[in-house]
Amino acid sequence: MKKELLCLPLALALVACGDNDSDTSKSPSKPPETPPAVTLQSLEDSGEIPKLDRSASLPGTDTDANGIRDDIDGYISLQFSDTKQVAAANQAAKANQSVMSTDLTNPTAVRQTNQLISRATACIYEAFGDANSGVEPAVVSRNLEAVTFNTEERLKQYMEFNKALDGSSWSLPEGNSCE
């Protein structure tokens, strides 16, 4: 088992190299073009990795008071353009964000927040579930979960939220789940 784990680094090392097939190198009159250096900044600017608020504030900043952190507003607008998909992503982001303000000592409050997330997740599957959506709904939902709980404080709050749901039960929402 250990051996299997040890061989894994090769996989990601391979991912890092692989941009050496440019035809421009065949032209004697033109020096080979060096691809622009990949930096944290360039990855964030292109949306390949998320550019997020990393402040110590649990809720973060929500300037337009739409219930979604400003940086996640930015993430959604960069990732999605279809109206229905943007609306579904916004609903999920807002539901995730409500974890931050949930009183974890109040079981009813915890359940109500979970219900929001349950309906929002079902809505993601409605908006991204068909074959032409271009992205799996599980990926959309998982990424929105990850960008919301992106600091130590936020991730801890989320883990405590999950713990508070231990032993509970709920159903997939029946009927239309999108707001």
Binding site: N114, A122, S141, R142, E152, D166, S169
Partner: protein, 442 residues
């Protein structure tokens, strides 16, 4: 047909149409609007180790995508989760920070990577891998710790298997399904199998085997109550095998580097993930798991004993842990007091009354929009007789979202027809624009 006859027939038909239109309109007006979709089959999912609530939501949605809302014979399927949290990983966030984020400058503060790294990485991790060659080593170190931690947690759980007594909401949910005559198909992943076995034993003592099925996925226990699937490279269960018994391997999966991404775009280095491995449509084991579930869905039968209770827009289910007579009382918004003396209310009904032991008692609010009252329903309980000191459990569940809340109290001396504990205020509202009803508890 001559011209005159044709005119006469046309005139007659026109008269009929004119006469029929108001009748149709009237029929539409009085047609009852059913707010519920009655489901005969419950698909109960017991989640695996270190599953966030959002991951449980995703798993259920994936199951619905695969198995649909109804069986081939038209019987409706309802999807419910019986959620459990993994204890023993309280230091997960700190360890992630120390072993991953603090090891490399470019990773600092990026806690969004935590949930994808436990599956061996993802798109963001790979992108960052372009900036530092140390990432694979950092990941493997963290995953060594993570796997050891979850194996320790699973071992501890297997040594002290969960009982339904500790999971009142799960037990009460089962009580509701059983009294409503549901066919139950349980599907469990990883540590969820320990919870599912406990739930299975409880339900099996009350309903016949043909009405209860269980499918085990990557079970963290040697005890089986139905078909199981286990991948040969499931590193979590393989590690558990060294410390105790687990079930036999059923399927071979490709090595990590050759593994196709699963439903969530990830491959899971540990070979244990539900969406990455066991429901992966590109792996044979994914098809096998789906086949097992389809077989059990096809085989499950309605209980031989007819259903005692009906599904409602919302329901209240009361149980208690021994002999005695405990009563359920519901005060409806219109003023009706529904209990064993007056079982029919204006909006709902007490359709199950138990006077001897354990319950259940069951109230359901009508699914007919014209009958269901909006406003506050006050739900309480009373020790009518012989139930002193018993623990009584009351669960409110809605048609739309499942269990809304479960509360337990210890009963005092009998109070006859007067409830001693008011347990829930249940609020039913109607959206004036859409006509949709909602229910919530306080």
């Amino acid at each position: 047909m001559n011209e005159q006859t044709r005119k006469f027939v046309s005139f007659g038909m026109a008269l009929l149409l004119v006469a029929a239109m108001p009748i149709q309109a009237w029929a539409q007006a009085v047609e009852t609007r059913n707010l519920c979709r009655d489901s005969g089959i419950i698909f109960a999912f017991f989640n695996g180790v270190q599953t966030t609530s959002a991951e449980a939501h995703r798993a259920m949605n994936e199951f619905r995508r695969i198995h649909g809302n109804e069986r081939a014979d038209g019987e409706n399927i309802r999807y419910e989760v019986m959620y459990n949290y993994t204890n023993g990983l309280e230091d997960f966030v700190e360890t992630f920070q120390q072993r991953v984020l603090e090891q490399e400058q470019i990773l600092q503060g990026r806690f969004e990577l935590a949930l994808e790294l436990i599956n061996g990485g993802g798109a963001w991790w790979e992108k960052l891998g372009q900036l530092a060659t140390t990432l694979p080593e950092i990941r493997d170190d963290f995953l060594d710790w993570y796997r050891a931690s979850i194996v320790e947690s699973l071992t501890s759980l297997a040594d002290n298997p969960p009982t339904l007594n500790n999971y009142a909401e799960h037990q009460s949910r089962l009580d509701t399904w059983i009294v409503e005559g549901k066919q139950i198909v349980m599907v469990a992943h990883s540590q969820g199998n320990l919870f599912a076995n406990s739930a299975y034993d409880y339900a099996a003592s009350q309903i016949d085997a043909e009405s209860l099925k269980l499918v085990h996925i990557a079970p963290a226990t040697p005890i089986a109550n139905g078909p199981h699937r286990l991948a040969d490279k499931d590193l979590v269960i393989n590690a558990l095998r060294a410390t105790g018994g687990v079930q036999d391997i059923t399927d071979i999966i490709p090595p990590y580097l050759d593994r196709p991404a699963g439903l969530n775009g990830e491959t899971d280095i540990l070979g244990h993930g539900l969406l990455e491995i066991y429901l992966n449509p590109a792996l044979n084991i994914g098809a096998a798991v789906v086949g097992d579930i389809e077989n059990e869905l096809a085989a499950v039968q309605p209980p031989e004993i007819p259903a005692e209770a009906e599904t409602g827009f919302f329901t209240a289910t009361l149980t208690w842990n021994g002999t005695g007579d405990v009563d359920l009382h519901v005060y409806e918004p219109g003023g009706a007091h529904v209990f064993y003396r007056t079982m029919n209310g204006q909006s709902g009904y007490l359709d199950v009354d138990n006077t001897t032991a354990t319950g259940p008692e069951h109230y359901f609010a009508s699914c007919e929009a014209e009958t269901l009252q909006t406003g506050t329903y006050q739900v309480g309980i009373a020790n009518f007789s012989r139930a002193d000191g018993r623990t009584a459990t009351l669960q409110i569940a809605s048609f739309k979202d499942g269990a809304l809340g479960t509360r337990s109290v210890t009963l005092g001396e009998p109070t006859g027809d007067a409830p001693s504990h008011m347990m829930f205020d249940v609020e039913v509202t109607e959206d004036s624009e859409t006509g949709e009803f909602e229910v919530s508890i306080r």
